[in-house]
Symmetry: C2
Subunit: 267 residues, 2 copies
């Protein structure tokens, strides 16, 4: 038992994001993973029990919940003595938008790509507007790369169908800067180590599972959403994205997602 | 005969470039058309007889020849009483570089294209260097479009193989500005009118032929070399490039190129 307990503590410490322990952001990851369905609620007690092992105090959780309510992400109701928290429609929509990319085990790189080029000067704004509403990667101040077919209305933009052939270091460096490369390799190593040292006889509680899943998803989210699914030529040679993804899902697979009812019943 | 003479005078007036009668530039066109071969020489007398009908005085021709010698385009020797002028190796090389494009009756638009994108800021210089040594079209300050395969060394540039899909008005306008569109339609109309009004029994002298050819080539050169052979999508709907080219060659075909010996023998 000592061994099992110390593995959980070690895994929590190892999987905690060294760069971001912002509590409101962890709560967003938690709801996205465990309670994204309409009607899914997490009790205040469960929330505290899932998050506290990360070294976060109940007071910090209350402050974060207050902020998330103010920003329209979360609503709270009372059920008897317990407070119950759930995502608003806005929160669910935000969460649903990134869910496919976070949980894609084997994303296919799109085969068709296009470039949009704005006129120097005033044209930048047309491009900015488009980049806000669709998923584009900036190649330069007035050039954006997008997957799939051209937008129906290119407005004042020059549009090319393209195949990337050469990507210099400055662009790879801009797309995958040092901190992102490090976040990727350190998550890969942490997930691998947690998987490999996990005692074979460990039966986690739903709350322990929720703690570990939240940590993994939170940290992976911050890696996977920062770099777009570009063709391999865009990534630096030491980019560990594929390995990191493999380790993340290998570990998550040992931690089947508990239902909200399961985590709430333990409080 | 009156009719024939007046047609020649009218054609000369009509074919003269309303935007550029710079004498040194006309002489460059003349040598490029009539005496581009190594060893080909044009006598001073022939030069005057070819150019004078354009309303250019012998003194202006002398000044232009002086400038062309100073710039390394032309050399002059004496042969008995006559001065003989010819292109230097530099002049021949400059001339040879543009000859294929000037005399191409039916240019094929290249099928493969590529875009090179420089980093904002310092990267512009890499692109500038490349654009000086190869034929590229600027799409923006840091984006250049080139025909054919990628350069072997793209240096610090992002490189895409591309197919153009949408070209907005601002780019068409930049590639074919109003003055170029007008130069194109006015040359088309002038060449067509000269062809259609030409008396059937007219037998031009080698010097008359040389005058008309020089005027046509000079004016066409300034249209054809200003716009690159881009795919049709890049041109404004009123771009008369194809029609202009057709009229230019229809008229040139009625004026077979005289040899240097032929034009020199008349002086």
């Amino acid at each position: 038992m000592t061994n099992v307990f110390s593995w959980f503590d070690a895994a929590v410490a190892e999987l905690a994001d060294p760069q971001n322990q912002r509590v409101w952001s962890i709560i967003v990851s938690l709801f996205g993973d465990l309670a994204q369905e309409r009607g899914a609620k997490i009790s205040g007690g469960a929330l505290t029990r899932i998050i506290e092992p990360m070294g976060i105090k109940p007071e910090a959780i209350r402050v974060a919940l207050h902020r998330l309510r103010k920003d329209g992400w979360i609503e709270s109701t009372r059920s008897g003595r317990a407070s119950m928290h759930f995502l608003t429609e806005f929160g669910r929509a935000q969460s649903a938008q990134v869910t496919p990319r976070i949980y894609d085990r084997d994303p296919e790189t799109p085969e068709t790509w296009h470039l949009l080029i704005a006129e120097d000067g005033p044209g930048i704004h047309t491009l900015d507007d488009l980049m806000l509403t669709r998923h584009y990667t900036a190649i330069g101040r007035n050039v954006a790369l997008g997957a799939g077919p051209l937008p129906r209305n290119c407005d004042d933009l020059v549009a090319f169908e393209v195949t990337a052939r050469a990507v210099p270091d400055w662009l790879r460096e801009r797309l995958c800067p040092q901190d992102l490369r490090e976040a990727c390799t350190s998550l890969r190593d942490a997930a691998r180590h947690a998987f490999e040292t996990r005692p074979g006889d460990w039966q986690p509680s739903p709350l322990e599972t929720a703690t570990l899943r939240t940590l993994i998803v939170h940290r992976w989210r911050r890696v996977v959403l920062r770099h777009p699914d570009l063709p391999p030529v865009f990534f630096p040679p030491d980019w560990a994205g594929q390995e990191c993804r493999a380790e993340v899902f290998r570990l998550l697979d040992t931690l089947p997602r508990p239902s909200p009812a399961q985590v709430n019943s333990f409080t």
